[in-house]
């Protein structure tokens, strides 16, 4: 036991004795008695009470202020009594806090006696006799040596090789292919060569290189950076007269600056296979059927054929021409079955799409005539005639801008049934899908009367728009819903006929729209324009074109959709008809697939006009085109 421990023990016994209160409960956690007024019991079984501690904070504070021994007073947790520490105890606490020994008298730095040193002594340190094992050979070592000897005999352990003293080298580039182009070779960029001196640097330049006086003055006044020549050409009589080159150091310095300050690096050229940039489109071969060859030519018109239309059954074709006739053709044989003369160059023809009505609307000059061609089912033809003749004049006569008249006499013989006199030249006629409404376009910039809608059964005419913005080019009814499309020069406006409001305005991004067609599903529109473009609009997607096709070389005159097959066609002044595959998916997430599949040529260009109208056969994948050469052609 060291002296410090001994003194601690003394301290504890001293503190217990000095208080004369015995701890009767033993070494238990004192908090067990925390809530009791006593701690343990004496021999008579009476409680030993804790000293009364009724000091509050204020008493504590006062005590702290007034009692000079407050700082050396601690509470004995065993008894709960306050103990005032003596000077020795305080000193002990201080020593312990400083990390010193508790005993004042202990010298920790006593001189050490070095018994075991490196010096060999003549006498042993201890007098102990040596062990026996110090004199007999070790069995363990013998066993180990035996094992090593055995291993050496068996050749498992080999003697160490003599260390080679010659330094080892190897060929760093031994594995390198001498013919391969290495990175450092590939990336090598030779320094740019210096320009070779010209005649002006000669010591005896030709006189035209020598500067005149004004030129020299100009050269001197010029900023050195902008000088064309960095020196003045000089003429010397002979080479011997040439002085030392004054700018030599300067030039070398500039050259060095050029070499190390101008970064020389290869520009990374992006290697893209140009074929990868072409979008993946299915082959036209996989998109059949579509028209591929010219099959029939419908000859008979003597002037350009402005407009064609196919009967809803697909048996007949009507064509209107500038030679003031309307011709009816049998589709399958190209036979002209009927020719009806009208009083002017025919601008538009439209066969009524309703199969139970046999009527053809023909527009020429300011007149629209409804013709009954008498083709197809006799019952339908007579029913149509009856429908027209059974009309009864309403009591109140409305004041209409269009005059309705019933054709009589020779006109009736030819098939004329109703004659509608318009105030202006009618350019286009188009039927509603049900076959009762007929829309006519009278282009006239700024006028309020550009589009009229006729109701044939009631012989009524409406002007749907109070005001038309721009020059109306063509109109069309929506195939299913009560919408009405009006194409002006730049825009296509979509009107809701029931709510009588503008629903959409499509921006065609072209100069002058010439024609328009509505997809039979009703959600897609194509517009042809005079600046060689065809714009496809997806009405659900945007008011801007989904795709613009620029395949024609000249102005587009007409566009058309097929009713069943995913086909559309465009006819142009370059004499060609381009048929495209235009698949529209029911899935709203999938955009329409547009693939040009065939260029159909056949029409000859007359007076700079090629194809004037295109239309599809209602049931077969055939396309008709009419041209300025007076023919209608069928491509199948």
């Amino acid at each position: 036991v060291s002296d410090s421990n001994f003194s601690l023990l003394v301290f504890i016994t001293f503190s217990v004795r000095s208080q004369d209160i015995r701890n009767t409960v033993g070494n238990i956690p004192m908090e067990w008695y925390k809530d009791y007024p006593h701690i343990g019991y004496d021999l008579e079984g009476k409680k030993i009470f804790k000293p009364i501690r009724n000091k509050d904070e204020l008493d504590e504070f006062l005590d702290k202020m007034e009692n000079p021994d407050y700082w050396r007073t601690v509470q004995d947790k065993m008894t709960g009594a306050d103990i005032r520490l003596s000077d020795e105890q305080v000193d002990l606490v201080h020593r312990l806090q400083q990390g010193k020994f508790g005993d004042v008298n202990f010298n920790e730095y006593e001189p050490a006696i070095d018994f075991f040193s490196n010096e060999v002594m003549i006498h042993p340190v201890t007098n102990r006799p040596q062990d026996k094992r110090s004199f007999i050979p070790s069995l363990i070592e013998k066993e180990k040596v035996g094992k090593l000897v055995h291993a050496i005999k068996m050749g498992w352990i080999k003697p160490r090789r003599p260390k080679e003293t010659t330094p080892q080298y190897y060929d760093l580039w031994a594995k390198e292919d001498p013919n391969s182009i290495l990175g450092r070779h590939k990336m090598h960029v030779p320094a740019p060569k210096m320009k070779l001196p010209g005649h002006e640097e000669s010591y005896n330049p030709p006189p035209e290189y020598l500067l005149s006086e004004e030129e020299r003055l100009a050269w001197e006044q010029q900023d050195p950076e902008y000088r064309k020549l960095s020196f003045l050409p000089q003429k010397f009589a002979c080479l011997r007269a040439v002085p030392a080159y004054s700018r030599f150091i300067h030039e070398r310095f500039e050259r060095c600056l050029d070499l190390y300050l101008c970064p020389r690096q290869r520009k990374m050229r992006v290697n893209v296979n140009p074929e990868d940039l072409i979008p993946k489109l299915p082959k036209p071969k996989d998109l059949q059927p579509f028209p591929t060859t010219q099959s029939l030519v419908y000859r008979g018109h003597s002037s350009l054929v402005r407009s064609i239309s196919v009967s809803p059954s697909g048996q007949w074709l009507v064509s209107g021409s500038d030679d003031c006739t309307v011709r009816f053709w049998e589709v399958s044989t190209a036979r002209c079955l009927k020719t009806v003369e009208v009083g002017g160059a025919v601008k538009g023809v439209a066969w009524n799409p309703n199969p139970s009505i046999c009527l053809v609307a023909v527009s020429y000059d300011d007149t629209v005539v409804l013709l009954n061609p008498g083709l197809g089912d006799r019952l339908v033809c007579t029913a149509t005639d009856q429908l027209i003749s059974s009309y009864e004049e309403p009591e109140e006569v409305m004041d209409q801008s269009v005059q309705w008249a019933v054709a009589e006499g020779e006109g009736h013989e030819q098939g004329h049934r109703l004659i509608l006199k318009h105030p202006k030249t009618v350019r286009q006629v188009t039927w509603h899908g049900k076959g009762d409404y007929l829309a006519c376009v009278m282009p006239d910039n700024g006028s309020s009367l550009q589009v009229v809608i006729h109701q044939v059964s009631k012989r009524r005419t409406q002007n749907p728009f109070r005001k038309n913005k721009g020059l109306v080019q063509c109109v069309s009814f929506h195939p299913i819903r009560p919408y009405f499309f009006v194409a002006t020069q730049r825009y296509v406006r979509v009107y809701n006929l029931i709510k009588q409001e503008l629903t959409k305005k499509l921006m065609a991004n072209c100069k002058w729209i010439s024609s328009m067609a509505i997809h039979p599903g009703g959600d897609n529109v194509i517009c042809g324009s005079y600046d060689c473009r065809l714009a496809w609009f997806d009405l659900d997607l945007s008011t801007k074109p989904y795709k613009v096709l620029r395949h024609h070389k000249k102005a587009l005159r007409s566009v058309a959709y097929h009713r069943h097959y995913p086909l559309f066609a465009s006819g142009s002044d370059d004499g060609s008809v381009i048929v495209c595959h235009g698949m529209v998916y029911n899935d709203l997430l999938q955009n329409p697939l547009i693939v040009p599949v065939k260029v159909l040529k056949g029409h000859t260009i007359t007076h700079d006009l090629g194809v004037l109208d295109v239309t599809f056969h209602p049931t077969q994948p055939w396309v008709f085109s009419s041209g300025a050469d007076g023919t209608v052609r069928l491509f199948t």
Partner: protein, 426 residues
Amino acid sequence: MSQVQARFFTENKKYLIDDVPFSIPAASEVADLSGVINKLLEAKNGQDLQDFLKVIFQKLCGIYYLETWDKTEVVEIEYVEKFTAPQPEECIMHDDWISSVEADSEWILTGSYDKTARIWSMEGKAVMTVAGHTDVVKDVAWVKRSENLQTGSLVVNDASLLLTASLDQTIMLWEWNSERNKVEARHCCRGHAGSVDTVAVDPTRTKFCSGSWDKMLKIWSAVPTVEEDEIEEPNRPRKKQKTEQMGLTRTPLMTFSGHNEAVSSVLWMDAEELCSASWDHTIRLWDAETGEQKSTLTGSKVFNSISYSPLCRRLASGSTDRHVRLWDPRSKDGSLVLLSLTSHNGWVTAVRWSPSHEHQLVSGSLDNVVKLWDTRSCKAPLYDLAAHEDKILCVDWTENGLILSGGADNKLYTYRYSTCVSDAGA
């Protein structure tokens, strides 16, 4: 000059030669090969037979590739009798386009776009004009020829029956007395709601079938009677008056519906089976008794015309492309098109099998050419008959070897084609 080993064979026993390979020059033409065969036959049979015998080769196209053949192989060449080219006989002018033609051994019946049908003698003499339709005559057919005809109790001798189908939605049954040269409209068959494009008379000559643009096939009785069928719509007096003028109204016995588009051609395969081709890209076979649809052959193009040969049991079809296609109407499995004959440059508007030869057929096209085909040489036609100046709309081939074709140039051409003995019989 390289030589090729060739072995010649034929199915015709009359012209057999020894079955040994011959060495022939590789650059041989058809004429050279014919010469070889003729020489061999001369040596075998004597001189007298050989003056007129000519030989053609089945592999007409293969001949051109003789030089490319492996020299060690023996080329098998079949040879058959050569038919003399069809000789043009008559050119009969019409007033308008000829839409249809049907000829028998004595008379030619044509339907025209001038709303009439005409009967011509074989020499091209106009015998009779059958006028009565109010619109273009689209098809014509003979029903019966110059036999004793039972009309009620009266027996009339030497009267023929013929049919005309028209764009005015009616078919007319006419009785023609060739002795007195008088034609009389017996019946006006009403019921179609579109132009009647085709008629076909059944093998028993008592019924006929018509196909129309209204997608229907209708079967009618071809026996003339004195009673009028009941008209279903009595509230149209004007029409009725007209029918009284132009023969008694007749209503269809049966109606077959099933086509989705206009019916373009119809024919009887036998007394119980009908075959129709349509714009809906199908050929349908019907049971004529029950009206049941038996099978459907689906193509990819609109059919213009079909023809059936009982000799080889094949259907030939002309459609709105350049090909003549041969079909097996009995086959139930996969490939229905047996053969495509491609040489035309326009729609094939008319096809007709030879009535006497199982391998030959004739086709007319919008490219103004009539082509005569041998199905054994499918790569090229035997003969091109390029007489027409405009679209060909109809062709026919009679029992006695006359090929007729009519078209949009208002001309009906006839060609004499040497009747050959069918190989099957030899």
